[in-house]
Symmetry: C2
Subunit: 519 residues, 2 copies
């Protein structure tokens, strides 16, 4: 077969057309895509006095929405490992005999493994998501069970794609920890409270039909409204929408691992020497041990030097909430909340501000929080000598992670610092070529590891500042060689030609594809 390919700006050779995805717009640089024309237009609707939105079951809601073979539905993953909604809805769809459904999720977690059966039975034939882990990821990576590519989008890219009409949602299913009979909802009241509703705020605006699924039907009108009744078609009451205890598992606890703490301390030195940590600076740290531990060291510096930041952003953890409450930041901008203490903060603290995923990171509206960031701390599964980051696949070629908001915030922040150990299970993190590129190197400034700090040569300003501050630097090639002396040169994984996933950059161009792993 004669497939024409193109080489994109991160030197990835990609087919011009991918079966099951379509025509490829190659990645051309972080701000190279200037959008034209108009967004997608939501459906006109109609309401009259006496309308009722309450239906008896998820099945009834699905039927009233007119869900049919071939349609696209959406979910959000704020309940993460504790989410019940996706499985409940997919089981009902399967029971109704509906097939060929494209699901567009903000992310998928191990809670969603029953999807495997729905894929195998043809109920689900398309997946868009930010991340994929565990058994579903394995089945996709090894056995290509979907038979066409999963489309990975960043949090900002997903909002953009929905607003642009590249993803047209027929029915959005929304887990609502608090909801009234007309569909006003919030995510921060009730037994299944998870905090901010950043992702479905976008879905609700653009989906043809919107179903709120709640285990906490509150009196009308709900007072804290994250998604208004103007956008909601049906409300279903169920016993439980999920287990909020499983939201934060692991990812958001403060680390005691000495290596992670060492990396965090070095990263903190880098931040301080960069000159960005000044009154009014803004900050985001992903979840993950070293990333969160940076906050601990940063706080000490801020205290000593009487520095107060403007906002902390992103997925919000209780670590960030503590910094807000202790006065180290003026405000938090939150699109996804990572633990119950942070959800409680969103409920009661007016300085803890909920934002949609579009306000968080969509590059194609008139401003986003990601573009206002001074400092961003990221983690990575791999980083290459061009500073390209992989956070989606492992060196095994297996899908095991997510894009999240990393490409969005790296592009936006004045200083993007990657914190990572140099090896995991004797597999080096720094490599010649990452298995897949998720965040392009030109948006990444510094790598901090336990064995040394490397600065992207593009940032001569930072190199000067760090050297002046006495911070020892290594070239990333040097670090790679050092590590490879300990681990040996890693073997390249063998891949087939089958494309099991397309990785979209936040602007909708294709930055990379994931190929099926050869067994």
């Amino acid at each position: 077969m004669d497939i024409k390919t193109i080489v994109n700006k991160v030197n990835k050779e990609i087919p011009e057309f991918i079966e099951g995805y379509g025509e490829v717009k190659p990645y051309a640089g972080p701000f190279a895509t200037i959008p034209e024309g108009r967004k997608y237009a939501p459906l006109k609707a109609f309401s009259k006095p006496g309308d009722t939105k309450l239906v008896d079951s998820i099945s009834e809601a699905i039927q009233k929405c007119g869900l049919k073979d071939g349609m696209t539905i959406s979910f959000h993953h704020h309940l993460r490992n504790g989410d019940y909604i996706l499985n409940m809805v997919m089981d009902e769809i399967a029971k109704l005999g509906i097939k060929d459904i494209n699901i567009v999720c903000s992310s998928l977690t191990k809670a969603h493994e029953p999807l495997i059966e729905h894929i195998k039975s043809g109920v689900v034939t398309g997946i868009g998501t930010s991340g994929l882990r565990g058994e579903i990821a394995k089945e996709i990576s090894k056995h290509n069970i979907l038979g066409k590519p999963v489309i990975f989008r960043t949090h900002g890219g997903r909002a953009r794609a929905i607003e642009a009409g590249e993803v047209k949602i027929d029915v959005a299913f929304i887990a609502a920890p608090a909801c009234d009979k007309m569909g006003n909802m919030n995510g921060s009241e009730g037994k299944s409270s998870f905090g901010a509703m950043g992702y479905p705020m976008v879905d609700a605006e653009y989906a043809d039909k919107v179903v709120a699924i709640t285990d906490n039907l509150m009196p009308f009108p709900l007072k804290k409204i994250s998604i208004p009744m103007t956008l909601v078609d049906y409300v279903v009451e169920v016993e439980s929408i999920g287990d909020p205890e499983l939201i934060g598992t692991g990812a958001t606890r403060m680390t005691k691992n000495p290596q992670e703490l060492l990396i965090a301390e070095k990263a903190s030195d880098v931040l301080i020497a960069s000159g960005y940590i000044q009154n009014g600076f803004s900050f985001q740290a992903g979840s993950g041990g070293s990333s969160l531990a940076v906050c601990k060291f940063l706080k000490e510096y801020m205290k000593k030097n009487n520095i107060k930041g403007s906002f902390g952003a992103g997925g919000i953890t209780s670590t960030m909430v503590n910094l807000l409450e202790e006065g180290y930041f003026e405000a938090l901008l939150d699109t996804q909340t990572f633990d119950s203490a942070a959800a409680e903060s969103l409920r009661r603290n007016p300085n803890h501000i909920e934002m949609s995923a579009s306000m968080y990171a969509n590059p194609h509206n008139k401003a986003c929080s990601a573009h206002q960031l001074d400092v961003m701390i990221l983690s990575a599964t791999e980083i290459d000598t061009d500073f390209n980051i992989n956070s989606l696949t492992g060196s095994t070629g297996m899908i095991m992670g997510a894009l999240g908001g990393a490409p969005d915030t790296a592009a936006g922040a004045k200083l993007t610092v990657v914190v990572a150990p140099t090896m995991r299970k004797r597999i080096p993190i720094v490599t010649d070529k990452v298995t897949n590129i998720v965040t392009p190197g030109e948006t990444v400034d510094v790598l901090v590891t336990e064995r040394g700090i490397c600065v992207n040569p593009r940032r001569t300003d930072l190199i000067e500042k760090f050297e002046a501050a006495g911070i020892k630097l290594k070239s990333i090639e040097q670090l790679k060689n050092e590590v490879e002396k300990l681990t040996g040169t890693p073997e390249r994984v063998e891949l087939t030609d089958n494309i099991v996933a397309v990785i979209e950059y936040r602007d909708g161009t294709v930055i990379d594809v994931v190929k099926q792993v050869k067994e």
Copy 2:
């Protein structure tokens, strides 16, 4: 000239096509229009790090927005008689030599009389508004200075028309009592605080360009966000956006007028006898003496009978705020705030909920507050024996009022009560045919005057209840005849054939036209 006409459902004969307006869809009943297709799609945009939105002057903002001859711009009237923004912007537009501008306002007040000169000079050639009073109204009514019809829309109808793309806003100018450098805004902080931002919330979502004009530039990020930065192009800082002291002039004070109090007391008896005043009932009262005084009597009844309402809605006055704070209502839904105490309540009381004009009253989304109302109290300039209400023109034919949310809430509420004196300056209020129909009689249930109470014959259920409660009723014809014995039969005003205004019903159909008064 052979102009084809049609007779609409309130028996008004209207041309099929109106020059300067276009094709007429005749009013066909309050819920007869089922919309089809999609809403208007906002422009795609683009942002990158380091973008700045602050510009030095209104003139610079106008130029950066690319405002040109023939475009449509929008304003909102939350500052009412104290608004400086419209005049400031129009003066700059005139100075720049831009002509043929269509302005779409949520309403116009006497603060906007400088518009007359801009109309005469050809800077302004189109007006859409909810209301028109004073000199501008006189110039339109008597001299047709615009030369084409003003388009009157209800608050819900304006939101609908913008969302439907019937009104395409090129540039929205928004008065922002609190704004940050990226354009996050609210209306309830700062020296010019006016409260809810219900109208421009819609404009900002759909306008191609959005300019925030503020006299209170706050640190980024603003914490209370009514309109987010995602929708805003430019921010201009000025010395003052208006005089908030002039927001509430007169309209919202509790009356001491004995006749108004008498009408209010009778209206309260009607409400109580209707059976709608029960735990969980919802309520809206327009501004105006009798209307607000109803709250006073209602409160006594609620206290005595231990009744707690669910929500009060609409334009919110301190009278409603007191009812909220004293526990008579659970919540307020607010699209426009009528005094500073109410604005302060919106700022600090989480049970005082801001809503967009679309959530307030747009009939073509998935729910609106107006359709959830149990009881609505309206005032009127005229009411006819079919219970049709005029609140826009006087019996002189002169434009002197507004549509406001009256047609929206009358259609939505289970019980719509009109409170009015039987005559003003010896001109009877009850008449055979109102000069113009704004709110159709089939959505109006009861008229309460100082001389008697009339029930729409359609509401046999209410007639039974009122008679059972010992409330004396009159037929509206009887009341009209009684009053005319005192005032004499009013002379009909002489009108020309020139249409100076089109009155749209909330669904975009034409319910009536206003003709030029013969001098």
